[in-house]
Subunit: 285 residues, 4 copies
C-alpha cells in the first residue's frame, strides 16, 4: 500500500450487457464518449472498451472500434483508453489482435487462459448460453509480442489462478516489460468466484514490480473491489461487469459505480489517481 | 480428519508419459494388470486408467479400454478401477463418454473446465505442444447424467478454482449424488500450480459431504500429496503425474510412489484404506 | 453473509485515549450519554463503555460506572450497553468482574488471553509504557460463569489467534451459551496486527452459531472493519480504537466513525441493524 | 525452498515432560549427552535444552545448566546447542538471562509475548495447572541486547501471530542481526493451535533474510513439522514437544522423532543439514 493513489477503471460496456439490461450501456461512439466523460469526472483514470455496432452487438470492425476509441479521446483527451482484445465469440484470433495493432491504444486487455464462458442462472445452475473463450499459450505469446511491437501496454486478464500461472510461464520468454499490469476478474460463469482467500494467495504469488486491479461480475463486483482496496490494489467497475448498484437499483451509468469506487478509496484515506498518475503507476510513461 | 483411513490412488498411465519417460509405464492390458497389482500390494485402493494402444498412444477404442479394465479386475478383483473420460485430444465428446457407459467402471473422471493443456519447458517458458482440453458446461452436465444413469460414480477433476465453481454451478441442477468425490489437480501447464493457500481456500469452499483427493504434476506431486495428508484429504500418485521419486531417480513403477504415499500417511498416524474402506468413504457401496 | 443487517458498535472511550488526543472522548456520564446518542443516531446499535473519572482516568468505581451506564440508558433507552470488564491496569480481577455482576449490563467484554499491552512508537519500535494484561484461564472461566449467572451476555475479545483457541478450550466446559459473540481486535501493541489472511483463518475456525465483529487500533481500524464487512461480520468503531478519520483529521466524535461504518455497510447493499435487530442476531432476546 | 538442506532440531526435554511421561526424557548431564548423541546420529544439527535437576524439575542453576551444556558439547563437539531462556515458572527474568550470558551457548531461545501457559485436558477443557509466562517488551529488548553482547544468536519463539508482531516492533530498534531465526510454536494451551492458514500468513509476513523452523505440542507436532517442510521451513521435534510417535506409542527417545523428521525431509527430496550447514543457514558463522 505504498501508493496513496488508486486507479479507477470504468468498463463501459462488455460483450454481454445491453440497453435492455441497462439503458446507459453505450453503443454509438457518441454514447461511449458521453459515458467516458461522466466516468472521468467521477474519478476514473481509464476506460475499458468493447465497441458495439449500432444494434448493440459486439463488433470487431476496426473502423467502428477506432471511431469509438477516437470519440472518447477527442472528448476527454487525457483519459487512458484500454481496448479489449476479446471482441466477441465470432472474432478470429487474427481479428482480435489486428484492431489493437491498427488502433494502438495506450493499453489493451490480454487474456491468459482458454475457458468456458457462459451466461448462467445462478439459482438453478442452468446454462443459457456458452462458448469456449479461446486463449491458447500461442495466442498469449503472439498477442504479447504484437502489443510490445505496437507500443501497447497489455493489461493481463486473470480469470482463475491458473491464468496467473499461464502468464508466469509465458513471461519467462521475456515478452513482457515491467511493471506488469494484471486484472483479476471474479465471478464469470466459467472462471473463479470471488473468494478473499484466493485473492490473497494470488497477491502473494505476484512477481516484483506488478500492479494489479480487480473487477467482479454481478454480485461479486462490490466486495471484490472493496477487497482490492484493502489489499493495496486498484479497482475496475462499470456496466460491463454489473448493471446495478449495491441497493439493487440500476446504475445510472458506469459513472455511478465510479463514484462508489471513489467513495471506497477515500474511506481508506486514499485518492483516485488522475490519468497521469495512473500512467506513472502502470508504466505507460 | 475424522477418518483414520486414507485412500491412495495409483494413476498408472496418463496421456503424456511413455516408456521413453519411464519404462514402467504400462501399455498392454497385461502390463496394466502387473502395475495395478504391485500398486495394490503397496497400499493403493484404486487405480486410475488411461488405456493405451500397443504403440503407447492414448486410445479411445472401447475394446482396448475394456480389455485393459478387465485385465486389472481379473488380476485384483477387489481393486477399484477408475477410468478416465479424457482419452486423448483426438477423442470426440461422444467417444469420451461412450466407453464409460459401455464399460461401466466403478468410477470415472469427469472434468470441469475447458483449458489450455500443454507440454512446456518450465525454465524457458517455451511451449512444445498444446491443445484446448474441451470440457464445456454442456459436457459436464451430459457426462454427469450419463454416469449417473450407468451407475458410475464420477470423480470430479478440478484443475483450477474456477473448475470447482463450475462444478458447484452445475451441481445445482441436481445431477450429482453425495458424497461428492473431487480430485484437485496441481501443476499442469494450463492449470494452477500447487499453492498451499489455494488448497486451503478450496477445502474451505467444499459443500457438505465431499471427499477429496489430490495429485500434482511433476515437481508438484510430492508436496501437494503431503499437503492433502495434512488437510485431511486423500492422495493420488502414479506415473501419469510424475515419473520420478523425490531423489530425482525414476520410479520403479507407480507402486514405488504408492509406497511413498503409504509412508506419508503413516507418518501422521493414519493407514492406507483398503478398497472396501475406500468404497465406503467415497459412497460406492 | 446470510443476514443483511450489520451491527455497528461504538466504543466511545477506552483506557488509553484522552481529551488531549481527541476532545470528544467522554469522561462524565453526561458526555457519555451525548456521545452515545449521536452514535445511535448515526446507526450504532450498541455502545461499548470504559467509564472514566472526572480526571479522565479509567475507573473501576462501581458507582461511577453505574452512573455512566444509567445515563446512557436514560438518554437512549433502546441502545445496547456493553460494559468492559477490563477497567484499567490497576483493577484486580475481583474488581473487574464485580462491577459487571452489580450493574448487569446487557453485554460485557470477556478477555481471552494474558498479553503484553503497550503504548509504542510504531516507527522507532520504542515502548513508552507497558503492562501485562492479565486474563488467565481461571479468570476466563470465572468471569464467564459470573456473567452467565448474572444474565450478562459476554462479548469474547480475541487479540490473537491463540485467544480464539483459549476460548474454544474453555468453551468445552459448557460455560457459554450460543450464539457466541466474538470481537476480533487488531493492532494493539502486544496483540496481532490486522492481516486479511489471519482474519479468514479465524473466521474459518469458528464454531457453529457464532457471531463476530471486529475492531482495529489506529491505522488498522478502517481496513479491518472493511474486511469484516466483506467476510460477513459486524463492525466496531469509536474513539477507543482510533481518534481520527481516514483523511487523518480528528473524528468529530465516535459518531463520525459510525457514519463511516454505515456508509461501508450500505456500500455492500446492507443496512445497519437497529438495537432490536442486533439483540436478535446476538441472542440477547 | 531455495535450500535443499533442512535443519532438524531435537528438543530433548522441556519443563513439562518427565520420565513418568517417557522414560527417555533426560535429567542428568550424562543422559542429555546420550540423547543428544542419538539425535545427532539420526540427523539432528541442533539440540534445544532445558536442563533438569536430578529430581527432573526444571532448574535455573547455572552450574547445572553449564554442566549439561558441556556434557553435550564434549560428547558431540560439532552439535549446535541451543539453551532455553525460559527455565521454569520459578525463575526471575534476571535468572533467565544470566545463565545465557554466563554459558554463552551458540543459540538461545528468546520469547516474544506474555501469555497463559497451562496444562489442560483437551477433551473436557479443564485446566490442571497454569501460570503467566512473562515476556514483556522490556524483556524482549533486554534479552536481545544481552544475547547480542554475549555473541549468542537468538532463536525467536513465536507462540501466536501477535508474537511475530512483537518481534517486528522491537526489531525496529535495531537489536537483532540478520539472518533472523524464528521458531513457530503450535499447540501450547495458551498459544495458537496449528492451522495451515495461519502458518502461511506468518510465512508471508516475515522480513527479508529470515530463517524459520517450527514445532508443535502433542498432536500438533507431526502435521506442523510436515507443513514446515512443504513451505520451505525447518523442523524441530523432540520429547519436549511430544512424547509419542504418530502411531500412539511412546518414542524411544527424541532421536526416533528425528528419524521421523529425516524421513519427511527426504520425502520431498531434501536432506538433513549437518551442524555446519545449519550454522551457515542460520548465520552462526
Amino acid at each position: 500500500m505504498k501508493d496513496n493513489k488508486v486507479i479507477i477503471t470504468a468498463a463501459l460496456s462488455g460483450a454481454g450487457t445491453f440497453k435492455q439490461n441497462n439503458p446507459s450501456v453505450p453503443y454509438s461512439p457518441e454514447e461511449f464518449a458521453d459515458e467516458a466523460e461522466k466516468s472521468y469526472k467521477a474519478g476514473a483514470a481509464m476506460v475499458h472498451i468493447h465497441a458495439r455496432g449500432d444494434d448493440g452487438m459486439a463488433t470487431h470492425d476496426i473502423g467502428r472500434i477506432k471511431e469509438t476509441h477516437d470519440a472518447i479521446k477527442e472528448r476527454v483527451p487525457n483519459l487512458i483508453v484500454n481496448l479489449s482484445s476479446a471482441v466477441g465469440p465470432m472474432a478470429t484470433p487474427e481479428q482480435r489482435i489486428a484492431q489493437i495493432v491498427e488502433i494502438k491504444p495506450e493499453m489493451a486487455s490480454l487474456n491468459t487462459n482458454s475457458m468456458n464462458y457462459a451466461v448462467a442462472d445462478r439459482k438453478s445452475g442452468s446454462i443459457m448460453f456458452e462458448f469456449i473463450f479461446t486463449n491458447t499459450f500461442a495466442m498469449l505469446k503472439e498477442f504479447g509480442e504484437a502489443m510490445r511491437d505496437s507500443g501497447v501496454k497489455p493489461e493481463i486478464e486473470i480469470y482463475d489462478i491458473g491464468g496467473l500461472d499461464n502468464f508466469l510461464l509465458i513471461n519467462k520468454q521475456g515478452i513482457f516489460t515491467q511493471p506488469y499490469n494484471l486484472n483479476f476478474v471474479w465471478g464469470t460463469a466459467g472462471g473463479q468466484a470471488f473468494r478473499p482467500g484466493a485473492f490473497i494467495t494470488m497477491v502473494n504469488s505476484l512477481p516484483e514490480n506488478t500492479v494489479y486491479t480487480t473487477c467482479g461480475i454481478g454480485r461479486d463486483q462490490f466486495p471484490a473491489c472493496m477487497q482490492s482496496n484493502i489489499l493495496g490494489g486498484h479497482i475496475r467497475v462499470g456496466l460491463e461487469d454489473n448493471t446495478k448498484m449495491p441497493n439493487g437499483e440500476l446504475a445510472k451509468g458506469s459513472y455511478e459505480q465510479v463514484e462508489w469506487a471513489a467513495n471506497i478509496v477515500r474511506s481508506l484515506g486514499r485518492e483516485p489517481a488522475t490519468p497521469d498518475e495512473a500512467r506513472k503507476i502502470m508504466g505507460l510513461i
